[in-house]
Amino acid sequence: MTETTTPTDARQPAETALAGESMLTAAEIAHQYGELSVLESVNVDVPSGTVTAVIGPNGTGKTTLLRILLGQLTPTEGTVEYTGPAVDRPIGYLPQQPSFRPQFTAAETLGFYGALLGRAVDTQTALDHVGLAEAADRPVEALSGGMRRLLGIAQSLVGEPPVVVFDEPASGLDPSMSTRAFEILADRAAEGTAIVVSSHDLGLVERFADRVLVVHDGTIAARGSPRELMAETETESLWDVYDAVVHGGDQ
């Protein structure tokens, strides 16, 4: 992830700088699985202090895009460049199905990830931040699916990475926990972290995201703030925007 990026694709509008400086830039990304093209000529810029939401139907390349941004997948074409500060952990990550070794408690799990960075993590504060303070000494195997996801969110923030990528943070959570998860992301963004989040919960995206990328057929079909997208499509909700972009307003 060290190559210099190319200029913005002329087919896609340059993004309005909504917040701080760019932390992560993907330029002219294309990816193929064998003969199947998943992403094509995608440009993404992730600025600090913003929540960038990636939405779109299943199978349109969202997870592939996230994995490329994380550096876990080398794109067939294009470059990804991290331009944030030099830190131990530049990009934090919450996988879609976070899971941990069942023999350890929630606090020990966070302690382990801190130890990987050579740091002593204040596990109580970190767990309190995601609403798991009372479960600190509970073994991971005794946590519910939702609680494991919250522990995963706490893990993704260990080391205070300048960029954090969340893959479906609200999946499997009840409405109040889902809201809490997005509040945590928004809080982090308010403190200057660049947040990238994929989600199917368009209500929460509309409420918390500063920018939205609608991925459809392997390209960024629309981008902008929820308000900008609604104005462009003359709709009243992000769901209507999604419907207009993905289905042509048929549903």
Partner: protein
């Protein structure tokens, strides 16, 4: 920046704690200890001395040690892959070699404890029940000695660590714990039984000669282990001059399998991470 040493320590401690907190490993250890003692008891018995016990244990351990290595190691990497923890560890910039080394080291300690525990219990029982002529701490022709049994323990652990390296490699290759178990069992049978069968076939087909036989045996892990035990334990006491195996090549053979397995595991994991 966090160093490789810091990351290794964190992963190694996690691995050890995982083993210590997993009840099934205690049951495996108890089973191994009981089986080793039972094998000696149903053979010549503890009162017959250390060398008869080695002879009683050698063949069963050729099979038991790989089985214990599979039990200890088949889930080691693939369980992290299934849980998605490998993808998370990538975000902490953990190099593949640090991860594999820590996983292997943690599991190696568990395996060594299982093997050494059973053999030390056996040695103690022999010391308590055998005649006074087995209490000589020296290695002379015609003399049974705990020193020779100590060598046997060391060689058995070396064999176990070699097999564990193979099992960790399989755990890197596998996509699920179920396939890891099948692959590990199949792979070990292929190496252990297939290697011996190939040597026998080579002799019968005459593309292996008496001169190249020791070299060929050294390349098969269980044959190398068997050869080392005969050469440095049984043979020392019996005083046969011709030798049973090329000890140096056999030791190199085991270490080669170990190093090769771990290097391949690191390479494959690194490829998977890209």
């Amino acid at each position: 920046m966090s160093s490789a040493g810091t990351q290794f320590r964190a992963l190694f401690v996690r691995e050890l704690r995982t083993v210590v907190r997993t009840r099934v490993y205690f049951l495996v250890a108890l089973g191994v200890w009981a089986l080793v003692v039972a094998l000696v008891a149903t053979g010549g018995g503890g009162e017959s001395g250390y060398l008869p016990a080695v002879v009683d244990l050698l063949l069963p351990l050729e099979l038991l040690v790989p089985a214990v290595a599979i039990a200890v190691g088949y889930r080691s990497v693939v369980a992290d892959l299934e849980r998605g923890e490998l993808a998370v560890l990538e975000s902490y910039d953990v190099p593949a070699w640090v991860y594999v080394a820590a996983i292997y080291a943690g599991r190696a300690i568990a395996l060594s404890a299982m093997l050494v525990g059973g053999l030390v219990i056996t040695a103690v029982l022999i010391a308590l029940s055998a005649g006074p002529d087995t209490g000589i701490y020296a290695t002379h022709t015609g003399v049974d000695s705990p020193v020779l049994f100590g060598r046997f323990i060391v060689l058995t652990v070396l064999y176990g660590l070699t097999m564990l390296g193979l099992v960790v490699l399989v755990s890197v290759v596998a996509r699920s714990t179920r396939t890891a178990l099948a692959l590990a069992a199949g792979g070990v049978v292929l190496v252990v039984a297939g290697g011996d069968a190939l040597v026998i076939l080579g002799l019968s087909e005459e593309w292996l000669t008496a001169d190249s036989l020791f070299g060929a045996l050294a390349t098969v892990p269980n044959s190398a282990y068997r050869g080392l035990v005969f050469e440095t334990v049984v043979g020392v006491a019996s005083g046969v001059e011709n030798g049973y195996a090329a000890a140096r090549w056999s030791a190199l053979g085991l270490l080669g399998w170990l190093a090769g397995s771990l290097v391949l595991a690191v390479g494959l994991l690194g490829r998977r991470q890209r």
